[in-house]
Amino acid sequence: MNHSTAPQVSLFVTCLADLMRPSVAFATIRLLEHAGCEVSVPVEQTCCGQPGYNSGEYESTIPVAKRTIELFEHAEYVVAPSGSCAGMIVHHYPKLLTGEWRERALALAEKTWELTSFLTDVVKLDTPPAHPTQLPPLTYHDSCAGLRELGIKEQPRQLLKSLCGVDVTEMQQSDVCCGFGGTFCAKMPDISAKMADDKLRNASATNAAILTGGDLGCLLNIAGRARREGLDIEVRHVAEILSGDLYGPAIGEREG
């Protein structure tokens, strides 16, 4: 029995953070705990099922969705450092499922949040977890699902301002897709590369030293293209920046 009044948050790690960049998940935990939440991590979680779902593999995604529901439906809040995974749970699980499972999906959707919107809209975090050094100019890529499925636009900007004291240097077309799109980036690599180049060109034009955003898929795509093209811009997840974790290599950078 839990007698704490602290918000109880179940962390949806996201498979990309789990596999590629654990620092995003650790930063998320730090931020949530700093905001007064008690964070738990259901260790049996895997992936929200987006790769298959977006490719139209509905039947095989259903068991994945059901497992996620079973694993998280007893939480008070579910928070993910990703707009697309949160959007998948909030908008697409109810579409994918029927009957009782749809009801359960809708109930889970009610308490599922993307990290920056949870911090601003629910727990209203306004003090920094670390004492950040002066950040270099940074620009923000608005990932599509977070922006259009969950309305995340001002939240990360507001947090960067209030926690890190930095105003985002806005790039042109910050809300246009970077070309990731899940399996799209592998199915149509040339078009995807062109879109990533547009993103990098717009980001570079701001002279920002860091490109940040709320979704690792986009960031891996943008960083991967920047490395291939030899462009010098650091790509980091917004959770890392907000939690003051700027010491390790940026995405795709070598150590040391």
């Binding site: 998940a25 049996e44 259009r148 799209f184 950078e253």
Partner: protein
């Protein structure tokens, strides 16, 4: 129009190599959304109006038989002849018959995507007629022997110098230089005036058919549609049966959204309603008027899960906002309708096999749905098409297999954990020095154009479990 959507991959690669055209499309992709956004901000009631528009269109589609019958009755009472065509071939032959009955030789055409869909120009030309497109963009691509690249701006892919070269090649210009845009426009206008005056038959499309009055509505910026409709003695309106709306005010509501979504204008220069042939005492207007209403699989779409696609009002906003359309241009789609709306329509009008690439030419970014004035859930419809492709085994077996294996493991945490911990551990060690992989087996689509960032170290779960154990 000849369909070659199966060449999307090759056509889009070619398109990306033409750097001048890429730059021009980038500019369009930047400015068209700005124009549209400014117009919507000024309107201030986009969401309410689009929900209104959506409800009207859904109501009409749900009662299409009633409204079609009403339209036919009213239009016939106004003195029009109404024809129904099941297929594109049927529309073409109805139109040719009408032309031949009047021994027509020259046809002046307004812009009509429906007649692009049926390949009407070629058919009439094979039937011995001269057909001249009179919309400036359509005129340009007709001279160039091309197809429209955009449903609203058919020649948006051409530069000023392309058009100048074309006129030099095709027109008797003498000493004239055509140095600027007004000179080019004036040149086309001179040529087209002769067509308007000489044409025996005018053919136009329609943005809306109004059931209660039997009228059709057409919006243009050049007024060429009105000249096609009023100067020749015979007028033929070619459109699809889903263009129908109950009342005049519904057409006006559509018009308010259509124009702002398309070009950012509050109005086009000309919005015309056509009622029928010249009446006694009228000084001008056609002597005989026809409506040809094409089905061409719209009834099938209406009965399918893709019914919402018929709410489309052909504004082109989804094209202008689609980063894939603006990257590769309309011609890469190999079909009449392009961009997101085309990627839904083309497979439904042709086949899922032939148009295999189109539903996949989408990152589900949702920008198309955000701006759609009819609130069509385009990304959902595109995903549903991918679902059908997978079910019908049109999707490559390796993709289906890979994604199903991923889902199989994702639903089995112990197995999933075993594989990812192992894989990530190995990759992290191999990639540590460089930070990225230049090439990766099983990820060639990714590494063809990008480096693959190496994992930071062990998976989060492995590290988290170790820390939790340490804490105890």
């Amino acid at each position: 129009m000849e369909q070659h959507s199966d060449q999307f991959y090759a056509l889009s690669e070619d398109a990306l190599e033409k750097t001048e055209q890429v730059k021009r499309r980038d500019m369009l992709g930047l400015f068209m959304p700005l124009l549209r956004d400014a117009a919507m901000d000024e309107l201030g009631e986009f969401e309410a109006l689009r929900q209104h528009n959506k409800r009207i269109r859904q109501h009409t589609l749900d009662n299409l038989d009633y409204y079609l019958a009403r339209f036919e009755l009213e239009a016939t009472n106004n003195g029009n002849q109404v024809h129904f065509a099941d297929t594109g071939a049927e529309l073409n032959s109805i139109v040719l018959d009408i032309c031949q009955q009047h021994s027509a030789r020259l046809v002046a055409k307004g812009k009509s995507m429906v007649t692009e869909e049926t390949g009407l120009n070629d058919y009439l030309q094979r039937g011995g007629l001269d057909v001249v497109e009179t919309d400036l963009g359509e005129y340009i691509i007709q001279l160039a022997g091309e197809t429209p690249s955009h449903i609203v701006g058919p020649a948006l892919h051409k530069s000023q110098s392309d058009i100048r070269d074309l006129f030099f090649d095709k027109h008797p210009l003498g000493e004239r230089e055509l140095e600027d845009i007004p000179a080019l426009v004036s040149e086309a206008r001179q040529m087209l005036r002769e067509t308007f005056l000489k044409a025996d038959v005018g053919i136009i499309g329609s943005n809306a058919l109004i059931a209660e009055t039997g009228y059709s509505m057409l919006v243009t910026n050049e007024g060429n549609g009105d000249l096609c409709a009023n100067l020749p003695s015979i007028l033929i309106v070619c459109t699809t049966l889903d263009r129908i709306l109950p009342r005049g005010e519904d057409a006006a509501a559509v018009q308010r959204l259509l124009v702002r979504s398309a070009t950012g204008q509050p109005q086009t220069c000309y919005t015309s309603f056509y009622s029928g042939p010249r009446r006694e005492g009228d000084t001008d207007g056609p002597l005989e008027t026809h409506f040809v209403l094409l089905d061409n699989k719209r009834s099938d779409i209406l009965a399918s899960d893709y019914k919402e696609m018929l709410q489309c009002i052909r504004c082109g906003a989804c094209l202008n906002h689609c980063p894939i359309f603006t990257s590769v241009g309309g011609h890469s789609y190999g079909a009449v309708y392009t961009g997101p709306m085309g990627s839904v329509l083309t497979p439904l009008l042709s086949s899922l096999e032939e148009a295999e690439a189109l539903p996949n030419a989408c990152t589900s970014c949702g920008r198309c749905a955000e701006v759609c004035p009819s609130d069509i859930p385009l990304p959902d419809l595109l995903r549903d098409l991918r679902h059908e492709q997978s079910q019908q085994k049109i999707t490559p077996r390796s993709w289906r297999g890979g994604l199903r294996l991923h889902a199989f493991l994702a639903a089995r945490p112990t197995l999933y954990r075993f594989f990812v911990d192992l894989g990530v551990g190995v990759m992290a060690r191999l990639g540590k020095k460089k930070g990225v992989f230049k090439r990766l087996p099983l990820a060639s689509g990714w590494t063809q154009v990008r480096d693959f960032p190496a994992p930071q170290g062990d998976t989060f779960m492995k590290q988290y479990k170790a820390r939790s154990r340490g804490d105890e």
